[in-house]
Symmetry: C2
Subunit: 187 residues, 2 copies
């Protein structure tokens, strides 16, 4: 139960993730947040200005971020940092308890497409698997590049995040290999 008007507000994944990034990057601007997201191997968010700037101002209005205007010469720059209230929300989001919607099988667009492979001619099927394997190679490369840049940040957890990507790609590669064999059998 909450006092009237003090409803427990729910924040979106993007809001909480942004909160986390501001904490992790240290005092930083919305632009820094965007740049970081754009470099990430996951494409979950477009990190568009139209999303981030209003979002950060929202978090500030709610008291989860504090702001300090810095200017170099004539260029304006707003540097945000997470307030104690913000840390509370961040910790609550991380959990436990885990938000039920965080408990899910991951969504993989490759799997979505593979599900309907029986709808395409055999030759296309073969080519599809080859293309998907090449795609995973690309993802792996993206993760390695990411690791080079952000792996040496001092945070002992950072390399374990990259590791997630590696294990993810490895599992999906194995899956594609099994898929390839499965398709070859049924002709």
């Amino acid at each position: 139960m909450y006092a009237p008007g003090v409803r427990k507000r729910r924040y979106s994944e993007l809001e909480c993730f942004t909160l986390g990034l501001v904490w992790q990057l240290g005092p930083c601007s919305p632009y820094d947040v965007r740049r970081h997201m754009l470099g990430s191997p996951s494409t979950q968010w477009s990190a568009s200005a139209g999303a981030i700037y209003p979002l950060v101002r929202r978090l500030h209005r709610r008291g989860l971020l504090s702001v300090k205007a810095k200017r170099t010469g004539k260029r304006a720059r707003r540097v945000y940092r997470v307030t104690p209230a913000g840390m509370g929300v961040l910790r609550g989001w991380i959990g436990p308890p885990l938000d039920p919607e965080a408990i899910t099988a991951v969504y993989d667009p490759l799997r979505s497409r593979a599900r309907f492979l029986a709808a395409v001619p055999r030759e296309q099927r073969r080519r599809w698997v080859a293309a998907a394997q090449a795609a995973l190679e690309e993802v792996a490369a993206r993760i390695r590049r990411w690791d080079e840049v952000y792996g040496s940040s001092g945070d002992p957890i950072a390399p374990l995040i990259t590791r997630h990507g590696e294990l993810d790609v490895r599992a999906r590669s194995q899956w594609l290999e099994e898929l390839r064999r499965g398709i070859d059998e049924h002709r």
Copy 2:
């Protein structure tokens, strides 16, 4: 280049996935599509009526689905099937070429949260990993149930889709285990 007015329309993931489901389930109603999605271990889509019904009608209007009204007694039922044009769009969506946005590291809400584990006290960190491991157990169970129901559909690819889920959970479990050890070291 396209003839004037014949712009190549882009369809959303949900639209194409729905198209695929209608093809896979055979002639079926929007309700069938929803029920199928709701049972899926992935929570990517809420499969809300507000999404599916307008979407299916849209696909019909664009000529990708054909409709036949069936009624049992007084109960109405619209049964859709994929048209040749619809199959074209479905095959195009599957690829190759793969849509660039399909080439990505999967998004995992557990990883998103883990990234900021250094922001919480050590004890919470420990409890978080335990909670995440339990969560993955739940996902694994969901996938097994799904497999029982849909694994015996005759489609040789179906079990390979389930397999993706198994490999996914296994990889994330291993990752959590490494995370647990990594956290225990740094105290």
